[in-house]
Symmetry: none
Subunit: 254 residues, 2 copies
Amino acid sequence: MKIITTGMLKKERHAFIIRQINLHNKVLSSDLGLQLQVSEDTVRRDLNELSESGKIIKVHGGALSKSFHFPYEQKDVYAQDSKKEVARKAIGLVSEGMTVLTGGGTTMLEMARLVPDDLEATFFTISPVVALELSEKKMLTVILIGGTLNKNAQVNMGSKTIADLSEIGVDLCFLGTNGIDLKEGITDSEWEVLQVKKAMIGASARIAIMCIGEKLNSVKKMKVCSLNTIDYLITDLASNDPKLQSYEAHTKVI
Amino acid sequence: MKIITTGMLKKERHAFIIRQINLHNKVLSSDLGLQLQVSEDTVRRDLNELSESGKIIKVHGGALSKSFHFPYEQKDVYAQDSKKEVARKAIGLVSEGMTVLTGGGTTMLEMARLVPDDLEATFFTISPVVALELSEKKMLTVILIGGTLNKNAQVNMGSKTIADLSEIGVDLCFLGTNGIDLKEGITDSEWEVLQVKKAMIGASARIAIMCIGEKLNSVKKMKVCSLNTIDYLITDLASNDPKLQSYEAHTKVI
DNA sequence: CAGGAAATTGCAAATTTCTGCGGTTTTTTT
DNA sequence: AAAAAAACCGCAGAAATTTGCAATTTCCTG
């Protein structure tokens, strides 16, 4: 990635660094030196200041996100990258002026982070976390669908959420899922989640399912909708991946 | 870009600077000196004034937009200790089984943190931040009132929020305020905020106002309600503080 | 409209902050 | 253990800011 910046104020550099860290979970002093067009000493001084005020964690070679958890196992990191890739592809579907509805979860959060700063659009969401992240983007209108906050999923659920969803209409809805299968379509294991997802589907003209490749061909207890209801299937896999071939008959694979 | 200006009054220069900042998110002292045809010393004095009145953020080399902020940065909390004391007193009003409604802001967030882990109660809130904090408490039911997320206040506002508030009824409502005065009662400076606060008051059997002592006897542009509407006034001051005496005729001072 | 107080502005000197560089130390890699 | 990479340290020049002060302008008031 090449980012050219000139004549930044120190505070701006700090903000830039924080953004880079939020985006990639880490930064290298050498990269920042090039991107910010300053010496690595200056970068290190910046990192020191940010570190002393507790915004980042400085390590040899650069810095890490404060919320960065050291990889417990390789798979976690791998999934993280996969989700970022899914998010990156997903945000490509959103264009100027659209009205979008999103659920919660880490993939949605990643997507919220990747919304371009100059995009003017309206985002409905049932996730307070996603809403707060989206509120960083100046040009967005963010509407939080209320309801009973589910402590595990950290999204709003329940009859109020369902009722409110039934009153809106959006262009595109992003949904995550744990169960997706050729025959059973989209499935879920929790009844409450199921109800909300159905309501979200009902509120949207087009539906995009986001899931990492390893979730393909797994079936949960209850059916959300069939594959034909889905307009886009967004995964981290390459579009020519054989695992995706059989899905292409039912939906647009991205 | 070349902008030629001559013979501007200070007020005009200030307006010009604010415009430039709104446009570009930052200004350089040196640029402004040229654009305004005044010495950089004058520019710096202007920036100092604008900074002191909280319109901009002055940094070495120029100034940044007030809305310039780091993603995730916890803004320096002003008078944090006082607010914690207010929060500590406030949470004492909540008892088992109650239904409570709260607004947003740092004081409310402090209160959310202080909710006992074993308290079983229902909290309605218009603040996603407070909601997420409350969701840490296992025994609470947390209901987030939806609406359009206000980027500055980080609370939900707008007609949807008002409508939803009109449909609920709670035992106790916690409200923060910037303006409280014996004669004018509770006042606020933003119309949208005013509407929401009125709706919150309408939804609750009892009203508790939370504010730090220094806010006492200040008046803003628009009236929320009179002091008699208020059931509790919670401040960080000792209950025998002379500043509080005159309020005791209208409301219970804590 | 004259006169004077108060506010404003530019200038220069003193001070502080910022930044890159060379030399040295520490950490990591080979 | 040696080599390489990254950090650290201190310094000096550049840039920005502060401060005091004098000159000027603005704003009242009679």
